[in-house]
Symmetry: C3
Subunit: 146 residues, 3 copies
């Protein structure tokens, strides 16, 4: 359910290995919170560098990656410390794949209604049903899902 | 106004007929609710399968379609039964085009502020002005729109 | 931080000049509000016209541009007059680049949590720290950012 749309210029993330390394690190963030691995979708959306504009200027001095992250299953409680923990966690995930390579980046997280997801309501976070989804790594029908 | 971003791998939705069939079914969902047909925009965004990652793994065992749906004109009231009705309606729309073809999929719905749309405020749902928009199938200026 | 995703059909916005003109006008809207220029990211996402469907029909009678705008740093207060001012401002930005060229368009604005942005909390709007970000046109660490 977390969906990462990774908008990147052509010329980077061109090989499977670099994409896999990032996708695995993203997935670990969420499985570490107890969410099923299959929830985590990352899409690499390649754009020509000349179609990326920052501050009214074509972004050609260095690769610029803009990540749009959508959180559906669990949201950050309205608490500054927790917001900071979330964004610094994401920052650390991106660092070896982006900052350490000399690329520029920006990300933001959007939070959307968990009940407006697929044809069933996902099990409550930390519930027994969620643990089944983690174990089987797929959406398993349960009472209350429909 | 409902906007469907249909991220799909290359190799499916390559012909107009399959896209039209889905776009028509999507449109019917909203015109059935009384919304104008022109509100309904569907974009098919084709990605190489190797750029789609689920649970940290490249999704190559079967086509995986990720649909991002944005609702602007009308939102689902905060009621579990209505959430379920909405997602099961969408599930039924996708079924013949995706599940029945053996593809995998995921969707979620985002709800955004109806007053932050184009250069006019859309007419209230079920209003006389909305009926004019339905009939003419275009945005017709009305008192209160600007 | 405002992110503009400009979905457009092939055949328009093919040259840098037309993209630059729009990207500059978008940027001016936000710098005029006192935000740093580097906040403003515009991405042109080109799709084949046959992948764009409006009201269940392939949109081939004229170019149709669908703009998804994400506001993170500042949100519109819940006031009809201010909503109208925002959307009419955006309408005026798009006009010379889209309407005046005989193209069709639709836009909407999404507002997301400013604390879920990058690895630091952006400075409050109209603060001294924000003025530093404007002047240096980059994210400058400050007390309270982390």
């Amino acid at each position: 359910m977390p969906l990462w749309l990774i908008f990147h210029p052509a010329g980077i993330f061109e090989d499977s290995a670099s994409k896999q390394a990032l996708a695995e690190d993203i997935t670990k963030m969420y499985t570490g919170l107890g969410l099923p691995a299959f929830y985590v979708v990352a899409k690499f959306i390649k754009l020509p560098a000349e179609d990326i504009w920052v501050g009214g200027k074509q972004k050609t001095d260095m690769p610029f990656i803009r990540v749009v992250i959508k959180h559906i299953a669990i949201h950050v409680p309205d608490d500054d410390a927790l917001y900071r923990r979330t964004t610094s966690r994401i920052d650390r995930i991106l660092k070896p794949h982006i900052a350490d390579k000399g690329y520029d980046w920006e990300f933001h997280v959007e939070e959307t209604e968990r009940k407006l997801w697929n044809g069933m309501i996902p099990p409550p976070h930390k519930s027994e049903e969620e643990r089944v989804w983690v174990k089987e790594n797929r959406a398993v029908p349960y009472e209350g899902a429909f």
